[in-house]
Symmetry: D3
């Protein structure tokens, strides 16, 4: 029996719907099949005029379909303004993210990477880290940062924080489900060679897998891990 | 049941006897009480004229006593030349470390930190990493670097690799045993304010603990973690 | 006679009251006894509804008491909004911090660390650095970043700036005063194993001290030092 | 024939007028003489009451004169508020910068450095990087970050991103023109030893040159380079 | 006409045969078809008893076949001892590498990455950098570090130098030739999911490509680039 | 009275003669005029056949002349083999460097930078750091790393340790003496634009100076500073 099952109540924070699938769709599916609770926290929702309500409803429905395929327990929506998080007081973002995580009480957090080019990713990472400060024994036992195709690779290497994965989760048995779940996001998928494509998702999974002698894997940076006494 | 028990066969690589206690004595004790196999690999032995045989026999006996207190399963001695590892061909160090680890077949490795000021620490880290390359499904599932008082703090901050711990193991119930195990090394202990003293060991454990809301902890950098499919 | 006495007019910038004590309370006491002017700049004050005026008055009185114990020359309050600095235009924060520092004309600055998890810390650091740009011979001769328990350790190691101290000030004779000064902040202190506790303060001072063969020390990162011609 | 001529349509993003001259005035002149289009994008304009209209008109006229000396093709003004970019929603800055760069369609970008102490520099860097995401074959083939005297050296070494140049352009034949172009900014130049002085400009060019065996050079960090198939 | 053709005389330094193909086989093929001279410098040759002569002859013949497929101009063999470079005085390695590069007089260097786990890679990188010091106008105009499957990914992220590519060469038209050239190394290829497999090569090329909107690419770190005056 | 006078007994470690002048010749002169003892430790001496005895005698005489001009108290020669330090057991280098520093008992150390391209520089840095471990109250109070033209700039930015100076010593009154002292090394000086030229020395001093509003300065990285209790 593997320690994988120690992640019993998991929260994946997604700045925008589909980040969670790109970053840890395979892990979500594997955790769900193993019987863990998998919560998704969608931090933002696009607002008119930048994003029409019709468009956003479609995206949210796509997310629901994707999460169902992956076996997610529940999707939580914070409805903060997408692509405009930098204009919301940090205390407000922190409060919204914190309240949701308080309710979930996860033992494991998957967060977008602080070095992603999108400010919303950076802000969501920080908000979750503020919540996760170990001010009680109930703080989450594991925090991982995931990588997001089309966000993580497009910052400036050497001058912005680098995604250097140290933690790998085998998703050989889940990679097809991950690709299908991403395909549910018809509004977000692009044709290869764009990074938001099945070919890019497969190539990344293969690369991350072969690095640790798996056929497919998702890779993470361990941000904080605590092995508390029983 | 905690994932801590997933570390069932553990190898701690120590460049010199007592590094393993300073770096992970508490973790060793906790793992041993939890029923895990805990192997110590002492990479070097001082040689005359730098170190007399009598002195080294005494140190090795101290190590035996310390390991017994901590419940270690077995101590493996490679007897490479202490403080002279830079003069041994890397391939030879790698072979010696590798053969021993092959025999142990650990799922979890604890290594000295590559940024420690002592070259022996750097070389042992690298030799173990060479062995641990994931060229089969049997590669270790977890590799952690530990910190060693009097080695890790005395490199050059900002220009040599920095020890930035992300993984914390609660040793509140083991800190006394750790201090006693170090006290077994009469030949190595120094009077406070030297770092090789009980006061320094306690302060470090308190600091690493309080960072994650424990009374005492040992801190590590996660070097590589793999959650393979069952 | 030591160069310590060269710090004759010192400004400690604290985002919130008590940061200055956690970060350099011992140094403040030592400087004050050595006859230096020690100014504290409290950048923010909590505002209703987040913080009641009564609560803030109590905190400010605690700060006054703490500063008196440490022998501080004067406490300057900028009353910028606490936990909301990210909503104030940077130019305004810079102006407020700059005007105060202009009036103090310090030769030495102690600043919160730019990698602290709290945005207020990051913003105060930057504002002071903007003021300190060496555009005249009157720019401060020394700038140090201090560490703050409960802020500096809770960012993300490896992806946010790391606090790697290179400068250590012996506070063996001042550690008791530091602990007492922090105790004055009844509203802020927490029970161990929280980092905001006497035990954590002592452990950190011991650790930073033993690293340089002192019984207790405060540790800093040297940000900029200038040895001008006489 | 040198690959230098491959930079045929170049955009230099300047947070404030004169940054482009300090950072790549020599390169602009060399590119212009080689027949390339050289566009300057001045992102901000100071606003009353911080900056009077008269003052800003003078600065903009100085910029025109400088750009003419350097042979720039065209100066684009975005008129975002100077020293207040942190108060403009990122999406708005991104949109303004993006629209201008869309119109220019440069193959090569020169950007201010993300680690400069001035927030406007950081924000302009990021806005241009957002535009430059390689979501089509038309994304720019080369992105360089330039250094700006009085901005790049005054951040905090070791804790903010470091300017570590890897790319050097020989401007031995253009250094005089660069110094003259900067002299056109009468409102911005300061007396040595201030960094905004001819002596500092010459010294930096000499230093960057001698590092690669040239008499004078400008130095850059390569942020992204793409050698597409023909 | 692209600047790609500016790389007219290229040297690829390979610690061991096949590193050059894994790291820049596609680029070699593309450069060769574009009419550039492509020299390969094989730094080492395995020696008995570690490697039999028969085995090494076979490997070298595989290399010849691979280089012919890629259109390499010439293969230079230094025959330094493989996996034992750390035992050769640095001055001797530098001399051997330097003499060969002097004879080739390349304008462009492709080097193994200094952060690769294999010491031979680190030593070859440094030796070539010593040769490339810009002590005359004849120093190479471009130096890139390439990544090597099974070497670059297996160091310790965050504590050893990180491969963070900033330079991408489209090899969509060459990826098949690269895979075939690697297949020529029958003695070196392994079955997927080992990194030394066609699947891993393809996945890496796809990943590096999609990052910059190409179907396949090789990625590099720009170490030094100089645009000299004509 | 400035804290500069606190550096009363200074040791400058030079891997090869002239490094000390390039790195801190101005500081040596300023310290000597201020009445401090300034010791130079020349770690190596070239050996036949690489360097003839006649040549080395000449270089050593040049060093004597240069040190006299700068007012150095004494020159200590360790005569370890130049350009071959990597072949000497680290313990032997450490012993030689340590014995010399023990005899000098400096309160302040100036060391070559660990990221310099020359292995001798890296090894001398480390040997001195091993000696300087704070295992007693007599450990040096200040350790600075200096930069060396033709060594510090020619490593690989972003992958080898970066020289990011935080400490600046005004040498406006000493720059001429520094240039003359370097000129004493007729065997080492080269014609501009080589870095080992008066023009490069002046440009670097001007650059480092203007960064902190001085006409000329030498720049350092603070490696460790301790303000002990009196």
């Amino acid at each position: 029996m593997s320690e994988f099952t120690a992640m019993r109540r998991v929260a994946v924070v997604a700045p925008h719907p589909d980040d969670e699938v790109l970053g840890c769709g395979g892990t979500m599916a594997r955790l769900a099949s193993a019987g863990s609770e998998v919560h998704v926290v969608i931090a933002t929702r696009g607002r008119p005029p930048r994003f029409s309500d019709g468009y956003m409803d479609r995206v949210m429905a796509e997310a629901d379909a994707a999460h169902a395929m992956l076996g997610a327990t529940r999707t939580h929506r914070l409805d903060l303004p997408a692509a405009e998080l930098d204009g919301v007081p940090a205390a407000e973002v922190n409060a919204a993210v914190g309240a949701c995580l308080d309710a979930i009480a996860p033992d494991t957090l998957f967060l977008p990477f602080v070095g992603d080019i999108h400010l919303d990713h950076q802000i969501c990472f920080t908000a979750a880290m503020v919540w996760a400060r170990p001010r009680s024994a109930g703080a989450p036992e594991r925090i991982f940062a995931y990588e997001t195709l089309s966000e993580t690779n497009w910052a400036a290497p050497g001058t912005t924080p680098a995604f250097l994965p140290d933690s790998f989760i085998d998703i050989s048995a889940q990679i097809e489900r991950k690709v299908e779940a991403f395909a549910a996001f018809r509004s977000q998928a692009k044709a290869f060679p764009d990074e938001r494509s099945p070919q890019a998702i497969r190539a990344l999974a293969t690369m991350r897998g072969t690095t640790v002698f798996c056929e497919a894997a998702e890779a993470f940076m361990a941000v904080r891990q605590i092995w508390r006494a029983a």
